[in-house]
């Protein structure tokens, strides 16, 4: 039997297909959509490469190793690793270096800058939480007295390292270069600060006897906090400038 002329079977099939193919967002996505007031932004956030399962597991493992291994008294690895891990995560969050459909995304109603900001903040927050968990887990182990400064002070250099990574990644349009630049800069600061400690006498630099010694100086020296934040602010400005609509590839 053939179908009657006045029944549109193509339309019927499209409606059936709509139901069969539809994706049902999970609870996290629905909540994010409500908070961000944009289902598109929520979906963009939850598809961040560096927030997906395998990446998170990797970051957690690295930080867990940092929590368990210690270089020596007052030099747990977590403080040194966390900013580097976060920087790599930020580099692979968004941007022309990592997103193959970047040009198309720039023509969409949900602003690409907003996606970049949301993803970067989310990656930073997730890494901060993981880092803090690892850091708190090292309390009560052989490292001796810990102050709040030691446990949380690394968040400030982490901000600087992350914004630097992001600035390089979007300027150069390469996530790998951005990650490399951020990690390299951090290593230089850590080793440089450590060298400074060992060559000069530093009685007046550290407020607490357990801080400012060895490699942890990069994280615990309060004199560095303002420079870190200044670097972060400059890099944020660079990101803002680079992501303006002026740049078209040739």
């Amino acid at each position: 039997m053939t179908a009657p002329d006045d029944v549109d079977l193509d339309r019927v099939w499209t409606n059936v297909a709509a139901e069969v193919w539809r994706r049902h967002p999970g609870r996290i996505e629905r909540t994010a959509a409500k908070l961000l007031k944009s289902p598109g932004l929520a979906r963009a956030l939850l598809t961040t490469p560096s927030l997906l399962g395998p990446w998170l597991i990797g970051s957690t493992l690295v930080l867990a190793i940092g929590a368990l291994v210690q270089l020596g008294a007052n030099q747990p690895l977590v403080w040194l690793i966390a900013p580097a891990v976060a920087a790599v995560g930020i580099a692979y969050a968004y941007g022309p270096g990592i997103d193959p459909a970047w040009e198309l995304a720039c023509s969409c109603a949900v602003s690409d800058r907003l996606v970049l900001l949301t993803r970067a903040v989310a990656v930073f927050a997730v890494n901060a939480v993981l880092g803090m968990a690892a850091s708190v887990a090292t309390l009560g182990t052989a490292a001796g007295a810990h102050t709040a400064q030691l446990t949380f002070g690394w968040l400030i250099p982490m901000t600087a390292v992350c914004t630097l990574t992001l600035a390089v990644a979007v300027a150069v349009r390469s996530a790998a270069v951005g990650a490399g630049a951020g990690v390299a800069a951090w290593i230089v600061v850590v080793l440089g600060r450590g060298a400074l400690d060992s060559t000069a006498s530093t009685p007046g630099l550290s407020p607490s006897p357990s801080a400012g010694t060895g490699l942890a100086g990069a994280v615990t020296d309060p004199n560095l906090y303002v420079p870190y934040l200044a670097v972060a602010a400059c890099c944020a400005a660079v990101v803002y400038y680079v992501t303006r609509p002026q740049r078209g590839a040739q």
């Binding site: 179908a3 029944v7 079977l9 099939w13 059936v16 069969v20 193919w21």
Partner: protein
């Protein structure tokens, strides 16, 4: 793939949407035609849509017995009834599924013929001396059970089941051969 295999594919795992697509292209036209006899086009489209969505969701409940067309028609009728009930409209008479031919080749003349054939077949197998053949016919062909199961149920070896089935088919062929001539006045 035949219809049973398509439905099995839809029921498996995540569901095979290309199988549903194939099932739709085979069956939606005749379902639409049948529904159209009782409903306006807009309602036909809605009912068809709900029918195939129901197929997608309930494929696991289908028992493969070689009657997918009838199963689809039952779902379509139910969806039509639900649609009218939701609207507070009185139910409309839709063709039933038991005695009449269902499927893509259905056609009113076929339905008449099917009834005549069934009547002839029933006459051929009636009678006390045909009890064994009637039983095998019922279990093997009407209820679509495998030969091993029929042997177990009737308490005879598989070989006996097969020879009874052969006799039943021969009787029917004889009855249908003469029956068709008398019903139509020509060969089919």
């Amino acid at each position: 793939m035949d219809d049973d295999e398509l439905i099995a594919a839809i029921a498996s795992g995540d569901g095979d949407d290309t199988a549903l697509r194939e099932l739709f292209s085979r069956h939606a036209p005749w379902l639409a035609a049948r529904l159209r006899k009782a409903l306006p086009p807009v309602d036909v489209e809605d009912v068809l849509q709900e029918t195939f969505i129901a197929v997608w969701q309930n494929a696991k409940t289908y028992q493969p017995r070689g009657t997918p067309a009838a199963w689809l028609w039952v779902i379509a009728r139910n969806q039509a009834a639900m649609l009218l009930r939701k609207r507070g409209q009185p139910p409309v008479p839709l063709p039933g599924e038991a005695a009449e031919e269902t499927g893509p080749n259905a056609d009113p003349a076929d339905a008449v013929l099917a009834r005549a054939e069934l009547a002839a077949a029933t006459r051929a197998l009636s009678g006390a001396d045909r009890h064994a053949e009637r039983e095998v016919w019922q279990l093997l062909y009407v209820e679509d059970r495998p030969v091993a199961e029929v042997a177990q149920l009737t308490g005879v070896p598989e070989g006996t089941v097969k020879s009874r089935a052969y006799r039943a088919r021969r009787l029917l062929r004889a009855a249908l051969g003469s029956g068709t001539h008398s019903a139509e006045g020509g060969t089919r």
